[in-house]
């Protein structure tokens, strides 16, 4: 039976889709079967970030409504053969997601895959609550910025009350993924530090993804960053996060950018 992970945040634009794709690809590179499910019905983007936008035929809503079989809607990644994508619908709205339908789809995915990653839409409404509903583990994606931290706090509250695990009186396993972190600005005192965010949200840290050009570069190319450039700083951070997800006790560090000689001389901005 596979593990269901929800990647959620409350706030939009913090890196849920980027992280879902990157973690999915990193998990699948070890040969485990992974499916990344886009729950953002109406505004799908996971297909684009994963470079499969032209291969979408059927989607999650088609499967839920019985218009297509699950196997017809799943798209296999062209680079990693154990990585799959279940796209969201672009034309229908989120009302087409029914709790019963989502439950059935997740149950069948759990049987076929080792990891089911649910990429949640922003907000705290139907799409977001259905994405988290059947999760075993939650990854809360947060930027070191006030509005993102506040929304993450809200989402943590929902994870502890509106999920099947919470309703059964079990504890939802939650992890913080701090994205777009800039150690230089944090050191200068102009960005919340890792410890500040950890103290406020008080959930364990899964990883710190440094702010990096490589993330945008990868999405431009339609490739999860962990496939586009495995040695880049954000990729190394995602690979470490995946090792922690598997249960390894790995100290959390911020992987730095590799700079050449001139980069070292001139790359760092003046304080």
């Amino acid at each position: 039976m596979g593990k269901v992970i929800v990647v959620t945040s409350g706030k939009g634009g913090v890196g849920k889709t980027t992280s879902s794709a990157a973690l999915g690809a990193a998990l699948a590179q070890n040969g485990e079967k992974v499916v990344v499910v886009d729950f953002d019905v109406g505004l799908r983007n996971l297909d684009l970030v994963m470079g499969a936008e032209r291969r979408v035929v059927y989607d999650l809503v088609n499967v839920i409504q019985g218009e297509a079989k699950l196997t017809q809607a799943l798209i296999r990644d062209k680079r990693v053969e154990t990585l799959y994508l279940l796209p969201a619908s672009q034309t229908r709205d989120k009302d087409n997601l029914t709790p019963e339908g989502v439950e059935k789809v997740i149950a069948s995915l759990k049987k076929a895959f080792d990891w089911v990653i649910c990429d949640s839409p922003a907000g705290i409404e139907r799409g977001a609550t259905l994405a988290m509903r059947h999760a075993d583990v939650a990854i809360v994606v947060t930027n070191p910025e006030v509005s993102s931290v506040r929304d993450s706090d809200r989402i943590i509250g929902l994870l502890d009350s509106k999920t099947v695990k919470a309703e059964n009186g079990e504890r939802m396993e939650k992890h913080l993924l701090l994205t777009r972190y800039d150690p230089t600005r944090a050191e200068r005192g102009d960005m919340l530090k890792v410890d500040d965010v950890l103290e406020i949200l008080s959930i364990p840290l899964l990883g710190i993804i440094p702010e990096s050009m490589d993330v945008l570069r990868a999405s431009n190319l339609g490739s999860p960053v962990t496939l586009a450039d495995e040695g880049s700083a954000p990729s190394r951070a995602y690979f470490d996060a995946v090792r922690r997800l598997r249960g390894e006790a790995l100290p959390v560090t911020v992987p730095g950018e590799r700079r050449g000689f001139f980069g070292k001389l001139f790359g760092r901005k003046a304080a």
């Binding site: 506040r150 005192g189 530090k193 304080a271």
Partner: protein, 93 residues
């Protein structure tokens, strides 16, 4: 003004941290319980009104969330006539 301040703006992260701590302490107390408190108030009212007549507006249910434990305070004002009526009903039965 010292030289350091002259060249750089004051740090903003400590302000962010402090504002968040105050705000979230408040939001956690209100958002987390609002639904539950309303439900509790409703059910408590129903149980009490089975035995005596009370004014719905004179019932206050408060939940305070602490770090180690939370407290639930129920404050019900019972008018003198309601106590008498309840006692009278008992005697008659």
């Amino acid at each position: 003004m010292n030289l350091f301040r002259f060249f750089s703006k004051p740090q903003s992260a400590p302000a962010a941290r402090e504002r968040l701590q105050v705000l979230l302490a408040h939001e956690r107390a209100s958002a987390g319980g609002s639904d539950l408190v309303a439900k509790l108030k409703d059910e408590i009212l129903r149980v009490i009104s089975r035995h005596m007549q009370i004014d719905q507006d004179k019932v206050s249910v408060k939940m305070e969330r602490g770090e180690q434990m939370s407290t639930l305070a129920v404050d019900v004002e019972i008018p003198f006539s309601a106590v008498k009526a309840a006692a009278g009903r008992k005697k008659a039965a």
